[in-house]
Each structure stands twice: as structure tokens, then as C-alpha cells.
């Protein structure tokens, strides 16, 4: 509707333009340009105010962890296993350590882990001191961990 109304206004203004003074033609052009803004501005402001209010309520850390790699590219909720395991890794794993991921190596999960845990280096093998597992638990992979943390099906392992 907004686009249609704006197009009609543009056409009508083109017909009116020769009948008004040059000074008023500038206002005619301004009115045509302002029409789509005026028609949508209340909705835009309401949406943005709502989003801003809900954003303030979320932890700032979410921007560093909740990479929108989950279903339909929506960010993970802060209570999701993915978010919790990455938050754990950021807290427990030293910054100069490597984090091993098990194969098969899922590209999206690898990117999310690399982004959230940088500068820790994500590597595709299980020889590292620190591991994040999601396809299997440490026992299935015959890993003897010194310590483990768990969030849903995800494991953070120090071996």
C-alpha cells in the first residue's frame, strides 16, 4: 500500500508541477519523498523502540556468543546448551589454548565456536588439552578427562 500510494503521488505531482510556481515545485518533490517515510515512520519507531527495550534486557555478552547459526539463523537463547557451553569455554579455557572439535567437523558449529572463543584456536582434532564435544560423550571417544562440564548434549572437556 505504501509503495502504491507513493507511486500515485509521484504521478499526480508530475501532473500538477507545471501549474505551480517553481518554488512550490521543490515542496511538491519534498512531499512526494516524505510520503513513504510518513506512512511507515510510526510503525518503524514502534518496532525499533520495542527491539531496543528488549535488547537492553539481554546480557551484552550475548553479542559475543549467540552467533545466529541455529535454525533459521536466529540467535541461540542464553539458556540453550549451545550458548551455555560456549560461555563455559570462554570462562574456563585459557586464551592461549587450543580447543579441539571432533569429526565430522560441522562448519556452522566450528564458526560459532571459533567466533565465541577467539583468541582460542579451534582445531579439528582431539589431541588438545581442551575439547568441546557434541556428537559423543568422553567415554564413547575413550577420553579420560581431568574435568568435564556439560550443557545438554555438549561437553567441555579438559584432558
Amino acid at each position: 500500500m505504501t509503495v502504491l500510494v507513493s507511486l500515485v503521488l509521484l504521478g499526480v505531482a508530475a501532473l500538477l508541477a507545471p501549474r505551480v510556481s517553481p518554488r512550490r515545485r521543490a515542496w511538491l518533490a519534498a512531499a512526494v519523498l516524505a510520503a513513504p517515510v510518513a506512512l511507515t515512520l510510526p510503525g518503524v519507531l514502534a518496532d525499533e523502540a520495542r527491539e531496543t527495550r528488549s535488547s537492553w534486557a539481554r546480557p551484552a555478552q550475548r553479542a559475543e556468543i549467540a552467533a545466529p547459526l541455529a535454525t533459521a539463523f536466529r540467535p541461540w537463547p542464553v539458556d540453550s546448551p549451545e550458548y551455555r557451553i560456549l560461555a563455559l569455554a570462554r570462562r574456563e579455557v585459557p586464551e592461549d589454548a587450543e580447543i579441539g572439535l571432533e569429526r565430522p567437523f560441522d562448519g556452522r558449529w566450528a564458526r560459532a565456536t571459533a567466533f565465541a572463543t577467539a583468541p582460542r584456536l579451534v582445531v579439528p582434532n582431539l589431541d588438545t588439552e581442551w575439547l568441546i564435544l557434541r556428537e559423543a560423550d568422553p567415554g564413547e571417544l575413550r577420553i579420560e578427562p581431568r574435568r568435564t562440564w556439560r550443557a545438554g548434549r555438549y561437553w567441555l572437556v579438559r584432558q
Binding site: 508541477a17 517553481p22 513513504p36 511507515t40 527491539e51 546480557p59 550475548r62 564458526r111 567466533f115 583468541p119
Partner: protein, 484 residues
């Protein structure tokens, strides 16, 4: 929060330092004054950093705030020396200023967007998985030498590496500088850097179009750009598409200005912005080819063949800026996995083109783009009929059609599933034609509604630079610009 704002302001000030040098060096310092000049300095400096920082990354010099300041100092010294040498030989020029009330009106959408940016904690898929990840790794590389691990095996662990290494590194390098200014990664705060691109484009539009478009027409046109929901959402997604669109549209405006006025200084800035667009995304290369082709065609149609030579030389400079990137890609034997342009794939998938163009057409009519594309297309079509400004109308329609074909070709060549690709990438790639349409629209309407009498609707509020030639030179520039 205050720390984030100070950090981003610090990064923008560093870019402005370099931008001032570029404006002085290219002789465009006098194009604008006041806050408008400040905005141009930031935008031009960011464009310069986008071009130069990746070259240094490829030779393993990490992009840091100190490096930008050092480059800025060199640029400023060289620019000031050139400006002094140029001295009195410089012609008079209109110094455009941002009027107070329009400035206030235009600041509102940017302030609201900045508040939203400061609160936002959600980015988009590509922002995290590609641009942001590379920026973080570039930042953590620390020290003067870049840690090589960003290019190592962890990002190429199977047939389709998690991170496309073939992409140019301009945006991650720029973000790495901002991250350093912020004192560490804060992707919440980085949103503000992206808002600066929209603000920078607005400064370019006001500087170049204000002498030929009445103030409130231009204010309304820029309001359409700045309140466009799609542009606002895309800006805060931290994807590379909004920076690419802003830089390329700025290049279009500067090249258009050069075509209309023969001012070599604006050709230099067209080269800079086109090269910066190329340093942000691979599409920048195709967009540059499109822009230069349309410009060359315009010159040939006008039987102005002599100017094709400087245009070709400028195009060669744009291509030369991409040589380090292409060398890096060749030396490391990198290949893209998402899109690979090939004549065979093009021929095989050509039947997809109507579906793609239909989808893009539907998106263009989405109210989230505020109808910028259909409005501009209709205005250009009507203007083409009138005849007074037919070159402008035809030039714009050719660029718009060219963009549609380029996007069509990109989607035809995607190696991913078409529906998913259109669903995820269609909206963000359409932002370039939408921004182009939005910035050209006030000019088209100003022409359309004055076309029948051929008179300028209102005397522009520009003034000659103090100490320079008489107003005749300024009037001459305006007259030339009327052909823009």
C-alpha cells in the same frame, strides 16, 4: 556504554585524520565545510583504510589503530604539501554546508539508529561467521606481524571450508582497528561503526547534490534513505552489504559529478570509493565494471571520446588496488565455494533467471525499502519522456538494470540451493540498488518537476570559498552540475 561510544569515536577520529589528508591531496577539501566536511573526512578516511589496510595484512602487518594514525599522518602531511603547492591555481568552488534545520531533521534517524545500535546484541549469520570472526582473529594477532593462523587449517577442514578465505579483507581489517579502539571485541558497539557508513553516504549526497537540489527536497530524499527499514536493519546486521552499498553509491555520485563537471578531483574520489567497495566484497569488482562501463558509454554517446582516456586510466587504478588481493588468492591457491562465475554454469542455469528477477522485483516492492526502487524507476522513466534530463534518466535506468542483471548472474551462479540463497541473501544484496535509487530520487524529482520550464527551482545556498574567484566560477560549476 560511554566507553563504547568513546572507542568508536576514537576509531572514527583516526579515519578522519587520514580522510583529511586525502581530501587535501585530491583538492576536495573545499567541497564542504563545517560538520559536513568532518563527515566527509571520516567516510573518505574509512574508504582509504579499507583499501590500504588489506595490502598490509597480506604482507603480515596487522591492522591497528596506531597504523591508521601513522598512515593518517603521512596522508595529512602529503595532502597539506600538495594543497600548498596547488595554492592560488586552484579554482573557485562551492563550499556546501549542512543547514541547521535540515541537519537536525537528518540527525534524528541516525541518533535513533545509534541508540538501537548501542542496545542491540544480535547480529546476522555472515557477520558472526565471516566478517566478525576474521576481525577478531586479526585483532588478536596483535603486534606488528600478523599471526598466520587466520589462514591456517582450522578454517579449511573439509571440502567446503567454514570460512571463505577468498573474500577481500577490507571490512575485517577496519573492524579490527575499531575493536582495538574499543579496548577489545564488543560486537554490540561495532554496530555504531556501520551506522557511520550511512552517515558518510548522506554527507556525500548532501555535498554533491545540494548545489543542484533544493534543501528540503534533498532533506526529504535523505530522510527516505535514513528511515528506510531495510537499510536500518541491514546496517545493524553487521553484514558487509551496507558498507559495500554506501561506498559504491558514493563512487557513482563522484563519477557522475565528474561526468557532469569534468572536475578531475571528484574522479579521484570515485576511484577511491570504487576501490574501497572492491576491498569490502567481491561483488564490488562487478559493480565497478558496471559503473565504469556505463560512464564510458555515456561519454561515447555524448561524443566526448577524449575523456574516455582519463576514465580508463582511473579504472586501471581501481583494478590495480585489487592486485595484492588477487596475488594473495593466487599464491595461496584459494577458491570460492559459494559462488563461482562460469559461462558453463551460467548457460546451465539460465532458466533460473526469470525466477530470480521475479523474486528481486517482489522484494523491491516490499514496503521495507520504502518503494525507493519503483519510485526512482518511475521518476526516471517520466524524466526520460520529458527529454530535458534524458541523459540522467537513461544513465540511472541503465545502472539499475545493470545491477539487476549482475545480481541475477550472481544468483544464477550460486552453488547453493537457489531458494535458500534467495531467501537469505536476496534482501541484503538488494540494498545496493535500493540505496542508489534513494540517493538519486531527489535529483530525479527535482528535475522532473522543473523539466517543463527548464528553470532551477530555487537558488542553492552555496557560497564561493573566501578569497577565491568571483561568483561566476561558482555559477559555472552549478551550470555544469545541472547536467549531472
Amino acid at each position: 556504554m560511554i566507553g563504547d561510544i568513546v572507542g568508536i569515536a576514537l576509531a572514527l577520529a583516526a579515519f578522519a585524520f587520514a580522510g583529511a589528508g586525502i581530501l587535501l591531496g585530491t583538492g576536495t577539501w573545499g567541497l564542504a565545510r563545517g560538520v559536513l566536511r568532518g563527515g566527509l573526512c571520516v567516510f573518505v578516511g574509512a574508504a582509504g583504510a579499507l583499501v590500504v589496510l588489506p595490502w598490509l595484512v597480506y604482507v603480515r602487518i596487522a591492522p591497528t589503530l596506531w597504523l591508521v594514525l601513522a598512515l593518517g599522518a603521512i596522508s595529512l602531511a602529503a595532502g597539506a604539501a600538495l594543497e600548498r603547492r596547488r595554492g592560488a591555481s586552484r579554482g573557485a568552488e562551492p563550499r556546501v554546508a549542512l543547514d541547521f534545520l535540515p541537519g537536525l531533521v537528518l540527525a534524528a534517524p541516525l541518533v535513533v539508529l545509534s541508540v538501537r545500535a548501542a542496545a542491540s546484541v544480535d547480529g546476522a549469520y555472515d557477520a558472526f561467521s565471516n566478517w566478525g570472526l576474521k576481525a577478531k582473529l586479526l585483532y588478536y594477532a596483535g603486534g606488528p606481524l600478523l599471526d598466520a593462523r587466520i589462514f591456517e587449517h582450522s578454517f579449511a577442514t573439509n571440502g567446503s571450508p567454514p570460512v571463505e578465505r577468498v573474500y577481500p579483507l577490507g571490512l575485517p581489517a577496519l573492524e579490527a582497528v575499531a575493536i582495538q579502539a574499543l579496548g577489545g571485541p564488543s560486537f554490540k558497539a561495532l554496530d555504531l561503526l556501520f551506522v557511520a557508513f550511512l552517515a558518510g553516504l548522506s554527507c556525500v549526497v548532501w555535498t554533491l547534490l545540494r548545489p543542484i537540489v533544493p534543501a528540503w527536497t534533498l532533506t526529504a530524499g535523505l530522510s527516505l534513505l535514513l528511515w528506510m527499514p531495510a537499510a536500518r536493519d541491514q546496517t545493524l546486521s553487521q553484514n558487509a552489504d551496507v558498507p559495500l552499498a554506501c561506498l559504491w553509491v558514493a563512487a557513482v555520485l563522484f563519477l557522475g559529478h565528474w561526468l557532469a563537471t569534468t572536475d578531475p578531483r571528484t574522479l579521484a574520489l570515485a576511484v577511491l570509493f570504487s576501490a574501497a567497495a572492491l576491498a569490502v566484497k567481491r561483488e564490488g569488482a562487478i559493480y565497478a565494471v558496471l559503473l565504469w562501463t556505463v560512464a564510458a558509454a555515456a561519454l561515447l554517446v555524448r561524443r566526448d571520446g577524449l575523456r574516455v582516456i582519463p576514465l580508463a586510466a582511473a579504472g586501471a587504478v581501481v583494478i590495480a588496488t585489487a592486485v595484492p588481493w588477487r596475488l594473495f588468492v593466487a599464491v595461496n591457491d584459494l577458491h570460492g565455494h559459494d559462488i563461482a562465475l562460469s559461462p558453463r554454469r551460467m548457460a546451465d542455469n539460465l532458466d533460473r533467471l526469470p525466477t530470480i528477477l521475479d523474486h528481486l522485483g517482489e522484494l523491491a516492492a516490499d514496503p521495507r525499502y520504502l518503494g525507493a526502487i519503483p519510485l526512482a524507476a518511475l521518476a526516471a522513466a517520466l524524466l526520460g519522456v520529458h527529454g530535458d534530463s534524458r541523459p540522467l534518466a537513461l544513465g540511472f535506468l541503465t545502472l539499475l538494470g545493470g545491477l539487476a542483471l549482475v545480481l541475477g548472474a550472481v544468483f544464477v551462479n550460486t552453488s547453493n540451493e537457489l531458494d535458500t540463497t534467495l531467501e537469505t541473501a536476496g534482501r541484503r544484496t538488494l540494498i545496493t540498488p535500493a540505496l542508489l535509487a534513494a540517493v538519486v530520487l531527489p535529483l530525479l524529482l527535482a528535475r522532473l518537476y522543473t523539466a517543463r520550464t527548464g528553470t532551477q527551482s530555487r537558488r542553492p545556498s552555496t557560497e564561493a570559498a573566501p578569497g577565491h574567484g568571483p561568483g561566476a566560477a561558482v555559477a559555472g560549476t552549478r551550470s555544469d552540475l545541472a547536467e549531472f
